[in-house]
């Protein structure tokens, strides 16, 4: 965790002026650029600026109060009650109530909610489930359960995206989403007056803009971290913030578990780590990386072609389809995996990301950090393979993870960092435990 924390804040010392360090300044415009959609789940940069969850993670991944001030469970974690923070308003002035919180939570997960019942009781929100939910407070801190207003004070659906977060939407013009400070934010006004979020910007353009001072915060994916270091850029990075994994469809040609096990044994993680990701990730054959679970070493990560051949035996499969949920580097990684699989007799064809379903899919899944049981819970939910809640006992967690991996429907490959390159005028930019930048707590040195 020290490693995680130590470099999760931008290396601002390089940019310090000769004068003493001061309190953060208020004011100014923070210019941020991103390749993806600002509202995408998970990881859309605008989501955490505009919306809050009932709970939140601190920098070390511990669950802290958010829109809920306290919570308790009974009936062996089948029922949870979260008491809402009083006097919190959405950006349009609507008071946060248990009624609109319930509506927002229900809308967030639609039919895939981890609870069976959700209801408003006074100033509290009550969750009930048939299965125990020991990790619900941590789950609610995730990107999936941020509260967007769905019922206005007049009972109608409001226009726009109203949340309770530090920034509110002011407009979207020419690819720039403008967010302005929420003066009445329950956590206090953010330091910057405005965040200009330029979206769908290629990495090349982002880095160019940073170098000429047109951007303050840009993305630095794992495969470019080495280059960022060589260029002496200030970088804030959160190690082990994402899991690169191969999702295997257990319907169709890969219904036989022996074939899926053969695929797991055939993948060469070291070439992904060393060549594609430039040694900026960490090989992982476990869903939770060693830094989170402490037992990751129990899952051997080395390629074993003999074992793969033996598992495959004489079984034949039709050509398999594979896609990757990302551009450039993920496509390269997918092609590398296709080569590995060809070596043991699988014929893999790459298809577009829009093609669904495929036999194989290369995915980046979020790792939330913090308590390992909650992180595993959230990871498997994101992969569409939710498991019954497991408490924080390491042996029970290992057993649950072993069982999940023995299905060979999700093959972990690498734990990857999330990182951002930061301009010299930005200070105190830290990344949360899931690697998202905490722009509300960042300030500008040259703010008026």
């Amino acid at each position: 965790m020290l490693r995680r924390f130590a470099i999760s804040c931008a290396l601002i010392a390089l940019a310090l002026p000769a004068a003493a360090r001061t309190r953060p300044h208020y004011g100014g415009t923070l210019r941020v650029e991103a390749e993806g959609d600002p509202w995408q789940r998970p990881g859309g940069l605008a989501r955490r600026l505009v919306f809050d969850g009932l709970t939140t993670f601190d920098a070390r991944g511990a669950v802290q109060p958010g829109l809920a001030v306290e919570w308790s469970s009974d009936n062996n974690d089948h029922r949870w009650q979260f008491r809402l923070r009083p006097k919190v308003h959405f950006h349009d002035g609507t008071l946060l109530t248990s009624v609109n919180a319930v509506a927002a939570l229900q809308a967030a997960c639609a039919s895939a909610c981890p609870w069976s019942q959700l209801r408003a009781v006074g100033s509290s929100v009550v969750f009930v489930s048939d299965a125990p939910m020991p990790n619900l407070p941590a789950l609610l801190a995730g990107d999936e359960f941020l509260l967007a207003l769905t019922i206005g004070a007049d009972g109608k659906t409001p226009g726009g995206s109203a949340g309770t977060g530090a920034f509110q939407v002011a407009g979207f013009v020419n690819g720039v989403l403008t967010l302005i400070a929420n003066e009445g934010c329950w956590r206090g006004r953010p330091f910057a007056d405005t965040v200009e979020l330029r979206v769908h910007r290629t990495l090349r353009d982002q880095w160019l803009d940073l170098s000429v001072g047109r951007a303050d915060v840009v993305e630095a994916p794992a495969e470019l971290l080495r280059q960022a270091q060589q260029q002496r850029l200030n970088v804030a990075a959160q190690p082990d913030a994402e899991l690169l994994a191969l999702q295997v469809n257990d319907a169709g040609p890969l219904a036989n578990p022996m074939l899926r096990a053969a695929i797991a044994a055939a993948v060469d993680r070291s070439s992904l780590e060393n060549v594609i990701f430039q040694k900026q990730g960490e090989m992982s054959a476990s869903l939770l990386p060693q830094s989170l679970s402490g037992y990751g070493f129990l899952f051997p990560a080395e390629q074993d072609l003999n074992k793969a051949q033996a598992l495959r035996g004489g079984l034949s499969t039709p050509p398999l389809t594979m896609n990757a949920d990302g551009g450039g580097t993920l496509q390269l990684a997918a092609q590398r995996i296709a080569l590995d699989l060809r070596a043991v007799g699988f014929n893999v064809q790459m298809v577009a990301a829009s093609v669904q379903p495929t036999n194989l899919a290369l995915r980046r899944l979020p790792l939330t950090g913090g308590a390992p049981a909650a992180a595993l819970d959230a990871l498997l939910r994101a992969a569409g393979q939710p498991m019954a809640g497991v408490g924080d006992n390491p042996a029970a967690l290992y057993k649950a993870e072993r069982e999940a991996l023995d299905r060979h429907t999700l093959i972990p490959l690498l734990a990857l960092p999330r990182a951002y390159a930061v301009g010299a005028r930005v200070r105190d930019l830290c990344l949360s435990s899931d690697g998202s930048p905490d722009l509300a707590d960042a300030s500008l040195e040259d703010a008026p």
Binding site: C9, A20, R23, H25, D58, Q64, K87, S293, G294
Partner: protein, 443 residues
Amino acid sequence: MPGGEPASSGAFPREQAVDTANDIIRANGKLRRKMMAMRLRHWVAVALVVCGAMVSRAAAVPNPWEQPAAALAEQIAALLGPGQARITLRNLSTVSNDDLPAIRKLLAQDLKARGVVVAGTESASTVRVTLSETGRERLWVAEVVEGSETQVAMVRVDRGATRPAQTAGSLLLRRQVVFTSAEQVLAALEEGAWLVIAEPDALVLYAKSGDGWSESRRLAFVERRGEARDPRGVIVTNGEGFEARAGAMRCEGRFGVDDAAGGWPAQCSESDDPWIWGPLIAPSEASTKLKAFFNAARNSFTGVVTPNLGVDLPPFYAAALVSRAAGNAALLLGGVDGKVQLAESGGLKNVSGTRDWGSDFAVVQSGCGAGVQVIASSSGAAASDSLRAYELPALEAVPASAPLAVEGSVTALWTAPDGKSVYVVVRGAGDRYEVDRVTALCD
């Protein structure tokens, strides 16, 4: 000297004195050997006593690995049953390799006590013990291999707390916890059996209760908008009571509860009036309180102060009145631009040696060294702040103490009413707030 006897120079010349002494030693060789033997016995006895004391002291200090070794051995024994097993140990954690033999020995002892004897390579069963860890805790894992079957046992081990050692300086800063809270603390003021705390949304009165404080009264502020993300506050004594500022709120009140007068005599309202920024420590005859206008939107002081000091001040975060060698007083300013300046003799002068300063400082009259020091927060990372005392003999801040580490970030710092210590608010792990009193002691 041989024999440990001091040679008397007396009236002898130096060379002669040495020869004479040698003669005495030769003449008393038997006696000398006897004395040496006695001394040797004495030192052996002393050494044994010291060793005995060390051993008993070591025995009194619990071995941190005992409990986890026993717990892991119990799980291993439950998986293996009585018999022999080969044990391997590897370290993937920050446990010192020097500790491995002791851990191995503990495991072997605990296993033996449970019927599992550690054997050599000929054993059919193998126990692979790995000392691992996560960012939060240590994890000891045992893989119990019997034939083709592998079972796993695990125990958690606390990392234990370590505090960096403080290096010595001419002054020693001592920190004493006054109050801790899960709520955000902006400022605090202790007065006898009462403690007033300014929170972002309320002013709270605490009463002394045993070794701690219990909440007595709470005066909630009216709902406000536009609060800063790192709101600031101050509470100063004011006649028989206090004046508190918290963001745009101004409160006045008295310490204690007066039920006849309806509870706690205190009231709050929004105010643009200047803050009393103090108490400020000046030469005793000129002790005064400076008032400064606060810009709540920028969380800093505008630079407009009363009384007028005859010099235009820049916007600043912190100010303190310090006595100068010539006997006059000067205003030390921590500017919004990060510059630390002294306002004296109608001008502003830059102070060097303040690059390590944060935005908070306060003056303390320690009586040590120059008598008055400035205690400043550090400009380090927010999660690992520190405090350090400085003296200002001229226009340079000279460190007068070693840094005093605080477990978190300093969010406020002000001089205590007695002037001999400072109060500091520290935001620690999990957003817990702590009010400490820091005193500068002569080292």
